[in-house]
């Protein structure tokens, strides 16, 4: 059942964004992103649970155990994308389980990961997982706008 709740998960290393180049170099921190997400969601009457965790097992636990509590998911896997974890069956299975329920999962990356060339995007089944890379905090805004449109059309 739809409850208008959105889970935003930020992976390892995202608590410190001092080395990230924001679009047009305006100041960026995780709390700035959180504030922007709360503001954008609030305009649509959506509720946001915004989290950051350096522990991959905790991120997996949230996706597996808490997925029924949310209508949509934004995931920034950050440092996990450079480890083998991102292709790990359990992680893909958790994402597939969510998208199979028709819920949105959008991967958001602050910088354009393809310029670095070493990061891997999330894997899941071939529907329902979006990707927004390189838009700084505005990537989260775009993802929330897209989720709102999808939820409003359902």
């Amino acid at each position: 059942m739809s409850n208008g709740k959105l889970l935003i998960i930020n992976g390892p290393g995202l608590s410190d964004l001092t080395d990230h180049n924001e679009v047009a170099n305006d100041d960026l921190s995780l709390s700035v992103i959180e504030q922007k997400c709360i503001e954008t969601s609030g305009e649509f009457g959506l509720e946001v649970d915004f989290r950051q965790n350096d522990d991959e097992s905790e991120l997996l636990r949230v996706l597996v155990d808490d997925n029924s509590n949310f209508d949509a998911f934004i995931i920034n896997p950050a440092g996990l994308s450079k480890s083998s974890f991102i292709d790990y069956d359990a992680f893909s299975a958790a994402i597939n389980k969510i998208t199979n329920q028709g819920k949105s999962v959008i991967e958001v990356r602050i910088e354009n990961i393809f310029i670095q060339g070493s990061s891997k995007p999330l894997r899941g089944n071939d529907s329902g997982v979006g990707l927004v890379s390189g838009l700084g905090k505005y990537g989260y805004v775009l993802a929330i706008n897209s989720i709102n449109k999808k939820l409003s059309n359902n």
């Binding site: 679009v23 354009n112 310029i115 060339g117 071939d126 979006g130 890379s133 390189g134 775009l142």
Partner: protein, 147 residues
């Protein structure tokens, strides 16, 4: 803000081409929605589609000459093959977004490599036809240089 929305090969078949992947909306419908969104937020959008690589390269060169503020490009299959489009985009100094209706990274392995991604500022994929509208909308919020 002046924006070129450039679409590559087979995108003219939207609505009939593998609708389970690309949806039922036609390119004409997407173009209309982009124009509506653009006029709401004060952008001017030129919406184009070509099946020819060279024509797409020439449109990017036009954008350089005409000092267009942003390019949104869905190079479709040329994404995975075209160094010419990569090079043209590298020569363009305005804001560049690579767009895909589906998420190529979740599809066949030959779609996992993009020659476009490293030449653009940002990538938006897998949000369906709505991705175009969301990008047009967001461009007005981004702190980017406008000519």
């Amino acid at each position: 803000m002046n924006i070129y929305v450039i679409n590559g090969p087979n995108i003219n078949l939207l609505g009939t081409r593998e609708p389970e992947i690309y949806g039922k909306e036609t390119l004409e419908g997407i173009s209309k929605e982009c124009q509506e969104k653009a006029s709401k937020v004060g952008h001017s959008v030129k919406f184009m589609q070509s099946n020819y690589e060279g024509e797409i390269v020439e449109w990017i060169q036009d954008a350089i000459i005409n000092k267009v503020d942003a390019i949104v490009i869905n190079a479709a299959a040329y994404t995975h093959t075209s160094i010419a489009i990569h090079d043209a985009l590298k020569s363009y100094s305005g804001y560049k977004v690579e767009l895909h209706i589906s998420n190529p990274h979740l599809r066949e392995s030959f779609r996992h490599v993009s020659f476009i991604s490293s030449a653009v500022d940002s990538v938006v994929a897998g949000l369906g036809p709505d991705g175009y509208i969301q990008v047009i909308d967001l461009l007005s919020e981004l702190p980017i240089k406008v000519n």
